[in-house]
């Protein structure tokens, strides 16, 4: 398997505070990698370095052979090929669901309105929200909004998907409808990097688990190894907190 996303010795500082310390990992084509760890450990910052939403001072991030931080990289073009789903959905509240799904396709990929609408509605149907097409994001529940956000990211035909705590802002009863869409996506072979606390999801579909603490990648292991026999004390503690309550 070839590496779709490669991070080499990525370090980042906010002033004198180091949020990422020499982070090295990779996501192969078709692989699902879950990034977990206590809050403030740098997981979200790490995933935002993949598409350059967060700049970093040291190290290298390479997506599909293209360096994110290189001066001559067309960052907008690279971003358009990487889907991203945010904790707070970030649908555009002044646009209808259909417009949310087509904006990027039309303005970035240069698709015609008809083509973009057809593709967008197909994906909307896939996440089970066809009848919401004409509504505005504010009229949908959190779970529905997040499913639209996933459809919006998919409408760009991404080579990989990034999820930044996609279920953390959701009411408990809505978490599964979003996870179901993600599980289905993983089964289809989408390359995914997922920051999440949902260990059930990790157990079900992840190939590898990256465990972070205080800006460091403490453990980077195959899923069964991570859950079965975590090597570090910090991972053991984290797992005991998150699994037994």
């Amino acid at each position: 398997m070839s590496a779709m996303i490669e991070m080499k010795n990525v370090s980042k500082w906010y002033g004198s505070f180091q949020v990422l310390k020499n982070c090295t990992t990779q996501v192969s084509k078709g692989e699902v990698v879950v990034v977990c760890g206590p809050s403030g450990s740098g997981k979200s910052t790490l995933i935002k370095c993949v598409n350059g939403l967060e700049p970093f001072q040291e190290g290298e991030v390479i997506v599909d052979g293209i360096s994110v931080a290189a001066k001559n990289t067309n960052l907008s073009k690279l971003r358009s090929r990487i889907g991203m789903v945010f904790q707070n959905f970030e649908l555009f509240p002044h646009l209808t669901i259909t417009q949310n799904l087509t904006l990027g396709q039309i303005k970035v990929l240069g698709r015609s309105k008809e083509e973009a609408t057809e593709r967008g509605l197909k994906l909307l149907d896939r996440v089970g929200l066809m009848e919401q097409a004409a509504k505005y994001p504010g009229q949908l529940s959190g779970g529905q909004q997040q499913r639209v956000a996933i459809a919006r990211a998919l409408s760009m035909d991404p080579i990989a998907m990034l999820f930044d705590e996609p279920t953390s802002a959701l009411d408990p009863e809505m978490i599964n409808e979003v996870l179901d869409v993600m599980i289905e996506l993983a089964k289809e072979g989408m390359t995914m990097m997922v920051v999440t606390h949902e260990m059930g999801f990790a157990n079900k579909v992840a190939h590898r688990v990256v465990f972070m603490d205080q800006g460091e990648i403490v453990e980077d292991a195959m899923k069964d190894d991570f859950f079965g026999k975590p090597r570090s004390e910090r991972a053991v503690q984290f797992l005991s907190k998150i699994l037994h309550h």
Binding site: K48, N51, L53, S76, K77, R79, S80, R81, I82, G83, M84, F86, N88, E90, L91, F92, P93, H94, L103, G104, K107, V108, L109, Y136, P137, G138, Q139, R152, A153, M156
Partner: protein, 230 residues
């Protein structure tokens, strides 16, 4: 109480007051609003940019305009614009710009400073995540601004922008200092010609009051309608 006053003068001068005066006032208000909002939005984007080369001049401009009395700016532009025009096109004589165009330029440039501050607050009111979502889709800076940030900023700020426009509507009356026939100018001319100062100025004040009050009522109605569902 009203003996000695002649309120018929108002009725006799209505066509002149409205067809000449009010049309000028409203045209000037409308053009200066559009120009001011466009230029003001550009200034706001400059002030918020991460390049000091854009931010500092824009900030200096806004502070200068907001620190100088409007009457002074009107005078200053009226006498200076012809020379600036000559300098731009390389003519040897001052260019005749005309009072109307001079007024439009003046009010656009002056009001832009105020609209800038409103739009700056509007742009800052949009959550950073919205920008990130636009960027993640591959939209560049201008597309993110044009399709995501500014449309929402305008909606959020429409009531404040319109309130500023009501102030602009009242401020346009200051053009009488360069003898332009706006609504107040027209009223003043009749008042002086017929020596009916009390009648004409009272009527003028009443008209400004009614127009401004109706506009702010419309703003209130709009405010409820425009809100984005969140």
């Amino acid at each position: 109480m009203f003996t000695g006053y002649d309120f018929d003068v108002i009725q006799r001068s209505l066509p002149y007051l409205f067809k000449e005066g009010m049309v000028f006032t409203l045209t000037l208000t409308g053009l200066a609003m559009v120009g001011g909002v466009v230029f003001g939005t550009m200034l706001a984007m400059m002030r918020l940019s991460r390049f000091p080369l854009l931010g500092i001049p824009a900030g200096a401009y806004v502070n200068l305009m907001r620190s100088v009395p409007l009457v002074l700016v009107i005078f200053w532009f009226y006498f200076l614009v012809p020379y600036i025009g000559a300098w731009i096109i390389g003519a040897s004589r001052p260019v005749a710009v005309g009072a109307f165009l001079s007024c439009v330029i003046t009010f656009t440039l002056f009001e832009a400073a105020y609209y800038c501050e409103i739009m700056r607050a509007g742009i800052q009111s949009i959550p950073r995540g919205q920008v990130a979502a636009g960027q993640a889709l591959g939209l560049n800076y201008w597309q993110t601004m044009g399709y995501i940030v500014l449309p929402q900023a305008f909606r959020n700020m429409t009531p404040v922008l319109l309130t500023q426009t009501i102030i602009l509507f009242q401020d346009t009356s200051l053009v009488y200092v360069i003898s332009v026939t706006d609504f107040l100018g027209a009223a003043a001319k009749i008042a002086n010609r017929d020596y009916r100062l009390v009648e004409m100025y009272t009527f003028a004040a009443l008209v400004y009051f009614v127009v401004s009050l109706s506009l702010s009522y419309i703003v209130k109605r709009l405010q409820a309608k425009m809100a984005i569902i969140r």
